[in-house]
Amino acid sequence: MIGVIDYRAGNAPSVLNALERIGVPSLLVSSKDEIDEVHGIILPGVGSALGTMESLEEMGCLDVISKKVLQDGVPFLGICIGLQVLFEHSEEGDTKCLGWIPGVVKKFSQDMVRVPQIGWNEAEFTREHPILSGLGKREFFYFVNSYYVIPKDENMVLAKTEYGVEFCSMITHKNIFAAQFHTEKSGAVGLKLLKNFAMIAGDAVCLRKD
């Protein structure tokens, strides 16, 4: 069972819809007990880094999420702000984040591009990985973001995207995956990636064909 963290500032229903569409058993989770039961965790996100951190803290489940992901090695997928809050610090609201991934979150330069970035942009994958199974070397995904992540360790970068600057649009580190793009809103390619994540979590069953 994949647990989609349901917190005040997230877009958990969209992620759940996408998982339902591809036949992955999933549910919204918002309590320690519920989170403790799942074998894959998705942290969806929209809104601001500060709002996300505040509502995660409000929910009171950060301990159990951290334990599951960092100690038990449960597969984890962060989406959009769910990627950004994994880093040490975000410029957005000068926010201290979870610090699971060394690095920082910076704002796009408005001198270069329109901010927020809204639209379909190309992610170029840096290497092969089971989570990318069946995907091309470059794929279009839907992005909505004003900020981007800068991991300290270049080895964690799984995809790069160009928007005024070349930025890291997906990371992987052990059992942690996280994407800047909205994989739940990126059509067939996005669903494929979600399915691959479910496979890694050992949770994909009857996959529907469209």
């Binding site: 929209v46 909505v144 067939a188």
Partner: protein, 257 residues
């Protein structure tokens, strides 16, 4: 450059798509979820649903529609029409829409933009601006209530204020061009795109493929919206994208399905 977005707009009344969407092979030609899925397969990058009833009584019908659409499509969609409060935003977003578009309510109470941006993130706040050329032609005024009331507010000044308050995007409709099929108002588009740094969607006036190119190149917009032109298949989305691609405008050529 970020690929330019092609956005079909659907008018909805009492939870049903109206104003003639001409899709064949439909058991139910007015079913928003089915039409949305069809557009997603046809290569649309995003969708806009405009609720033209939007009275309190049918609010629930609309939310049910949003839920059904959200289950059917995996491309982003915005919902507009009759949104007045932050609670309205919450209901629509919780039902599965990705963005909410506000128009008259933002003019009447600009703080709504700020409230919504703070609560839900600026990315989901679309401010729709209906523009009408001033007599004498030296600029545009903002119209509200479906274009029936012309305010004395300047469009460019208002767009900048929206950006400052926290709008993530501007959906700019030229009421002078809307329905004429004579092309977008690219003077208007240029005036607004030059004045703000958030993305701008052009709307009103598309009649042929060249009009989309002009809005992107001469109007400087980030996305183009049209309704009947797509509904009646006068322009097919993938054909339009192919045309733009050949003219070196970046577009997403894959189909989301």
């Amino acid at each position: 450059m970020l690929p330019k977005r092609i956005i079909p707009c659907l008018d909805v009344k009492d939870g049903r798509v109206v104003k003639g969407v001409n899709f064949v092979n439909f058991k139910d030609a007015g079913d928003p979820a089915q039409i949305a899925a069809e557009y997603s397969r046809a290569g649309a990058d995003e969708l806009v649903f405009l609720d033209i009833t939007a009275t309190v009584e049918v609010r629930k019908t609309m939310l049910d529609m949003v839920k059904k659409v959200a289950k059917q499509v995996t491309i982003p969609f915005a919902v507009g029409g009759g949104i007045r409060t932050a609670d309205d935003f919450k209901e629509i977003l919780d039902s599965g829409a990705d963005k909410v578009s506000i128009n008259s309510a933002a003019i009447k109470r600009p703080e709504l933009i700020l409230e919504a941006a703070n609560l839900f993130g600026r990315d989901c706040v679309v401010v729709a601006i209906d523009a009408k050329k001033r007599e004498g032609g030296d600029g545009w005024n903002v119209c509200i209530n479906g274009g029936s009331v012309v305010t004395d507010i300047d469009v460019v000044t208002w767009a900048q204020k929206c950006e400052k308050l926290g709008a993530g995007e501007i959906l700019l409709t030229s009421l002078d061009c809307d329905g004429t099929k004579a092309g977008y108002d690219n003077q208007l588009n240029r005036a607004v795109t030059a004045a703000v740094k958030i993305p701008v969607i052009a709307s009103g006036g598309a009649g042929k493929k060249e009009d989309f190119y002009d809005a992107i190149v001469h109007g400087g917009v980030d996305a183009v919206l049209a309704a009947s032109l797509f509904h009646f298949k006068e322009v097919e989305i993938m054909e339009l994208k192919k045309y733009l691609n050949e003219k070196n405008i970046p577009v997403r050529m894959e189909i989301a399905k």
